[in-house]
């Protein structure tokens, strides 16, 4: 059922919206930029970063656009001088407690905080003081957490709870020393899906296998499908110098950008030294390197031989649930049309 439209104004311009939308959603639909750090697709509004505060005529306080629903006739201002000043102060505060590590940071060039600092021209924060010490957790082979870069937007905590249902991490400590960690500092109980890395807007969570292999924007992106289970998750491979150096998934894909540990981290096998590089033929009990023409001719000859000596139905083929449709189609065509038998199957049952 189509929701009834309501009308309101943003920065003096009348806009239409559905009544269940938030101010942020309506603003984005109408191309009004409101900065955010803690807002994240599919996650519940958190209201922590305070960058999306806007003025609503008649309300005594600023309201967060991410969690405030629109109402008919609402008059919203997103761009007043006061708001701009507050946003600037918030970014300044964040920078005052952030390792100025852009030179080495994996996320440089793809970091929301960096973007905001750039936007507001905040080269030097007037606010100097204690910074949280770098508490780097790299106790696992997939995810590295550097708490000194963490802005505590809570995206990782929420995605782990709301989407993944694992709740491996949460907020711990209080005051300035608040940080993300495991409940009661216990051992990390994690599925290593890396949803947290994908949701982190800064360089606090990074993929260990992708470290120093090239920043996301320095790589060529190729969209493809995950080679593992049957969910069919969409992957975007990051390629640099003919090597897969990282993976992400578009939030617009059927899998909503979510992946599992295999999909996100399981690409290394492609470049593994064990990869078969050339054909092998068994000679004197050993498999030895052969040229393609030699190997193919041997196979053709042997199949022909068996066919003529023992009949078509003494040949069989096992196709692959890991190959493409085109390849599977051709394989059964080969078995049926060339080998002349219906002895074709694959491991669907296993």
């Amino acid at each position: 059922m189509e929701e009834k439209k309501i009308y309101l104004s943003i920065n003096g311009k009348e806009v239409a919206s559905a009544p269940s939308q938030t101010i942020l959603e309506v603003a984005r639909e109408n191309k009004v930029f409101i900065p955010t750090l803690c807002d994240c697709q599919n996650l519940s509004p958190f209201g922590a970063c305070r960058l999306c505060l806007v003025e609503v005529a008649g309300l005594p306080k600023l309201v967060p656009a991410c969690s405030t629903p629109v109402a008919a006739g609402m008059k919203i201002r997103t761009d007043s001088e006061k708001i701009d000043q507050y946003r600037r102060l918030i970014v300044e505060l964040l920078l005052s407690d952030h390792e100025p590590d852009c030179m080495f940071c994996e996320k440089a060039g793809d970091c929301l905080l960096q973007d905001l600092a750039y936007q507001y021209g905040l080269k030097n924060s007037r606010l100097k003081g204690e910074r949280r010490a770098a508490l780097i957790d790299d106790s696992n082979p997939f995810i590295e957490r550097d708490n000194s870069k963490c802005i505590l937007c809570g995206r990782c905590v929420r995605v782990c709870d709301e989407v993944q249902g694992v709740s491996a991490i949460g907020f711990i400590g209080r005051g300035f020393q608040t940080r993300i960690g495991t409940p009661f500092n216990r051992k990390l109980n994690c599925e290593f899906c890396g949803q947290c890395i994908a949701s982190c807007p800064v360089g606090a969570l990074t993929s260990k296998p992708a470290r120093r292999k090239g920043r996301k924007w320095q790589t060529r992106w190729v969209k493809t499908i995950c080679p593992y289970c049957g969910c069919g998750c969409n992957l975007t491979l990051h390629i640099k110098d003919n090597e897969i150096v990282g993976v992400h998934s578009d939030s617009s894909s059927p899998n909503e950008g979510y992946l599992c540990s295999k999909g996100r981290f399981g690409y290394e096998f492609v470049h593994h030294p064990d990869r078969l590089q050339f054909p092998l033929i068994r000679k004197g009990g050993q498999l030895v390197r052969a040229e393609w023409y030699e190997a193919l001719r041997l196979v053709a000859t042997k199949f022909q031989e068996i066919k003529s000596r023992h009949g078509n139905n003494t040949l069989a083929g096992l196709s692959s649930a890991k190959c493409t449709n085109e390849e599977n189609y051709l394989f059964q065509k080969f078995v049926r049309a060339v080998l002349g038998t219906n002895n074709v199957d694959h491991c669907a049952r296993l």
Binding site: L152, R174, G175
Partner: protein, 615 residues
């Protein structure tokens, strides 16, 4: 007790209990509140029991262990009824004398009477003691009379009448209407109209609805909720029952700090008694109203007093506030409509129902009705809990009830509203206090903390102290509170260490205003108040620290020279006597001097110097 199943049975029981209460019987009331317990009242009670037994007075004299009387400064407190004789600082040794002289013979024991430190006048009766004379003790009235562990006591003094009236004679709408008309505002700090809050929740769609009593009293020094829960838990339960009936809730939670063991014990007893009597549980008094109460112990995070954080904590999650809307009335505990009020607010409700909104709204100012309990502390002669009508002046509370600063020192300011409140200087002491006047003075009502400061308090240091508290208790969720208050604390600390710069004041102001405007919850939004209000009234002290590198109150250690001002020195030698490090040299009739290589900067000399000669 036998379960009662109807109004008739309730009325019958009340009648019996009232008849049992002989107005003329001798009663020795001993305070067993936390304050008096700490000063030894349990031993005093035991002594009274033994002594009465020995004197063979068991049938004629009754000992009552009651909740807090408020005047904790002078505990253990003993009152003798029906005369209402007021004995203070009673020790075990005094007990035989009290039995022998006061109980048997009706004589007064002079040394146990309260003496005003200024006028030296002595007082016999509780209601004459200046500490009590200007109070209006409605909520606290029964605290000094009943044994909180006996539901019979509560019933005997009209307990649960308001609830019975509500469920038998009023519709939920009428109850809400009555509370609305009374003008009762939330006593937890915000000051939102209680009746209106109930109405929102009662009209919210969704079931079940939850009622929550916020007993997470976190302001340093404030203990009125604790005293109510310890001394009169049934009053709070009755308020909750009425609220539950009004909004349509069947389950109530009391979120109480685990650091309040006596409150928890007494609440548990009260709840069990209520269930046994049938005042709590299914189909209360034969009606179709059911209500039960559960206790949830909090782990002591200050922010859990914030209602959304409190609800998260009940749900077993980390106590962190969330943005509103949705408001708890619409989507609260477990995502269901919930109403949350503070202990003192609930304690007001039965009086409004019994005596009517008309009676209630006659107490107080135009926009703030009824009484308010304050926790009077700091540099004041009479510390303790005081219940006063809204509209009373600060001067009356601090000087008439509190007896002013001790040792004749000069009053400087009063800090109101807990860590995120503000300081009010002498010039505003005559403003009638209510929610709105305090805000316009830069403070807040808060939960009613009231800390008096004298000339020896440095206002920059006071601001630093409260900022430090807030910073440590910040949940860390929003940036302005987590980092902003940290930066403010660093600047203020710098100033107290003599490292402040002129630009710091502007930066402080900017940060304070920014945090106030952008922080997520009430804790963060009010966090800059201590700085803002001290900057407003005591900017000179900040400037003295920054420009002259001097602390006018001789409080900030980094700015004290630890030298004796020869002109001021009275040559009394007290400094030499108290110095733990042997750093002071003094000869009779000569000015003292301090050997800085021995001095450990403990400030003992400064605190004891009658002439404030150590600078």
């Amino acid at each position: 007790m036998k379960k009662i199943n109807s109004r008739e049975e309730f009325d019958q029981l009340k009648k019996e209990l009232e008849m049992l209460y002989n107005q003329n019987k001798k009663r020795i009331i001993v305070c067993k509140g936390t304050g008096c317990t700490a000063s030894g009242s349990v031993k005093v009670i035991e002594a009274f029991e033994q002594e009465i037994e020995r004197a063979g007075l068991s049938d004629t004299v009754e000992i009552k262990r009651t909740g807090c009387h408020g005047f904790c400064e002078k505990g253990p407190i003993v009152a003798i009824l029906p005369e209402d004789i007021f004995y203070q600082q009673v020790s075990v040794e005094d007990v035989p004398e009290i039995i022998e002289r006061t109980i048997r013979k009706g004589d007064l024991i002079d040394k146990l009477l309260y003496q005003d430190p200024k006028t030296k006048q002595k007082y016999v009766y509780t209601h004459d003691v200046p500490f009590y004379a200007k109070q209006k003790r409605i909520i606290f009235h029964h605290n000094g009379l009943i044994d909180p562990t006996r539901i019979e006591d509560y019933l005997g003094f009209g307990g649960y009448e308001a609830f019975v009236k509500a469920i038998f004679e009023m519709t939920p709408e009428e109850v809400i209407d009555e509370v609305k008309k009374s003008g009762l505002r939330g006593r937890g700090g915000g000051g939102f109209l209680t009746g209106l809050k109930w109405e929102f929740c009662s009209k919210a769609k969704g079931k079940p609805k939850y009622l929550i009593c916020n007993a997470d009293e976190g302001d340093p020094g404030a203990f009125m909720d604790r005293s109510l829960l310890e001394g009169n838990p049934h009053l709070v339960l009755e308020g909750m029952l009425i609220a539950g009936y009004a909004i349509g809730a069947h389950r109530g939670y009391i979120y109480v700090r685990a650091e309040y063991p006596l409150a928890i014990t007494n609440l548990k007893i009260a709840i069990a008694q209520g269930q046994e009597l049938g005042i709590l549980g299914q189909n209360i008094l034969g009606t179709d109203f059911s209500f039960d109460v559960m206790i949830k112990e909090g782990a002591g995070a200050f922010v859990c007093g914030e209602e959304t954080a409190l609800m998260a904590s009940i749900e077993g999650r980390r106590g962190m506030p969330r943005p509103r809307p949705p408001f708890p009335a619409v989507k609260g505990l477990w995502g269901k409509p919930s109403n949350i009020n503070n202990v003192e607010t609930f304690a007001n409700v039965p009086f409004i129902i019994t005596k009517g909104s008309q009676w209630y709204s006659e107490i107080g100012t135009e926009k703030s009705k009824g009484t308010k309990i304050f926790a009077l502390a700091g540099k004041v002669n009479n510390t303790g809990l005081v219940e006063v009508p809204m509209g009373i002046t600060l001067r009356e509370i601090i000087f008439d009830i509190g007896g002013g600063p001790p040792k004749g020192r000069k009053f400087k300011a009063v800090q109101l509203g807990g860590p995120s409140g503000g300081c009010i200087p002498e010039e505003h002491l005559d403003v009638p206090i209510d929610y709105d006047s305090l805000i316009s003075l830069g403070a807040i009502m808060g939960s009613g903390g009231m800390i008096v400061m004298d000339a020896a308090n440095c206002m920059v240091d006071v601001a630093r102290f409260f900022l430090e508290f807030i910073q440590n208790e910040s949940c860390g969720k929003c940036i302005p509170c987590r980092i902003g208050t940290k930066r403010m604390l660093e600047i203020v600390t710098r100033i107290t260490e003599g490292k402040g710069e002129e630009a710091d004041l502007e930066l402080l102001q900017e940060l304070a205003e920014g945090i106030k405007a952008t922080a997520l919850c009430g804790l963060g939004q009010t966090a800059p108040n201590p700085v803002l209000s001290t900057l407003r009234y005591f900017a000179d002290e900040y400037r003295a620290h920054i420009l002259e590198k001097r602390c006018p109150a001789h409080c900030c250690i980094a700015l004290i020279k630890f030298e004796v001002d020869v002109d001021l020195c009275k040559r009394c030698g007290l400094c030499k006597k108290v110095c733990p490090a042997g750093a002071v040299s003094w000869m009779p009739k000569t000015a003292a001097s301090i050997n800085k290589s021995l001095c450990i900067k403990c400030k003992t000399c400064i605190e004891n110097c009658p002439a404030q000669a150590i600078i």
